[in-house]
Symmetry: C3
Subunit: 138 residues, 3 copies
């Protein structure tokens, strides 16, 4: 069995954003030399998400509106977590969108459906944050 | 290490439905010959979900009502994604219910709790859509 | 390839609670002897969750309030599932928080970010319930 690990670092200049990281996952897989197995990709921070959905700007605005409706950022005082912090909403948003994806690796490729793209969802940006890619297989 | 892949195709005759696919996962595992490892089962489409919960019709009606309350299908015009599309709600519903499950394989069986059943959640049906099963182990 | 399995059992004395189970996952990993691979940790019951977030009591109160707003426990009669059962809300809450986490194993350690902690989320407690840990790798 082979294993491979890579960390990606992102500094986003807004509090919330969605970034397509499929190319980085594909590069990691190519560098790993693994042809059959599983790829795990997860946010290493608990106010961020890795998820798979569509690379379409309108949908991303819909996600933003949906998440703000369910767990609004402001007023900060509505959350018990927000004493020294102001990011309770980001912890909740990440919980809705999920921490991680596991993707099949087949014939040396990410085994994704036709529209599946991997995204980094940032909910408390403007500082360096990491994503982990771990691949096992052979 | 052994690996095994299978794709399932579903055409549901309503926009939304839940289908128990535990038997298909069990058959794939038996066909793989893998006795210890992990089984990944994921929707390959981004308006559908694979999740684990209870096989009980009342609960499925509760899921439907819950998802429609959080991300209603209509009016289609409420979503920025819906220009040529009308399925923004399906992308959001799938995000709530999740894309995938990872199930332990122990002694050649899916290592599920007493009531755990694997479901395909369709949120934009009436066309062929695929589910991926990938198993690694030995 | 090596594989390792452990079940944890919890009996919580309230209907809902969050329990940090990172130490139990670390102990299982140490006992497995696996140094590179993947660790799956999932609830075996469909009214409970395993998720990763912050070990902060204020945030846990925010999660509780958020989940009760989205899928209130009472009145029990609001849910189609609740005939002989009274726990439809718990099935829905678990769906929001997720069933499982998959964590990378690197150099014999859980490869977690600085604040990532693994939690057992109980939504229908006061009886014995199980969590599965499965580790594969070498």
């Amino acid at each position: 069995m082979k294993s491979f690990k890579r960390e990606l670092t992102f500094i986003k200049n807004t509090r919330r954003s969605f970034t397509n990281i499929t190319p980085e996952a594909e590069t990691a897989l190519a560098d790993s030399g693994i042809r059959e197995g599983l790829l795990l990709c997860n946010a290493m921070h608990i106010t961020a998400s890795v998820f798979i959905n569509d690379d379409e700007a309108g949908l991303h605005r819909d996600f933003e509106a949906f998440l703000e409706r369910l767990a609004p950022e402001k007023p900060h005082s509505q959350y018990a977590h927000n004493g020294y912090e102001d990011n309770a909403d980001a912890h909740i948003k990440r919980q809705i969108m999920g921490r991680e994806v596991v993707v099949a690796v087949t014939n040396g490729k990410l085994d994704l459906g036709p529209w599946e793209q991997i995204f980094y969802g940032e909910f408390d940006g403007m500082r360096p944050k990491r994503v982990l890619i771990k691949i096992i297989g052979e």
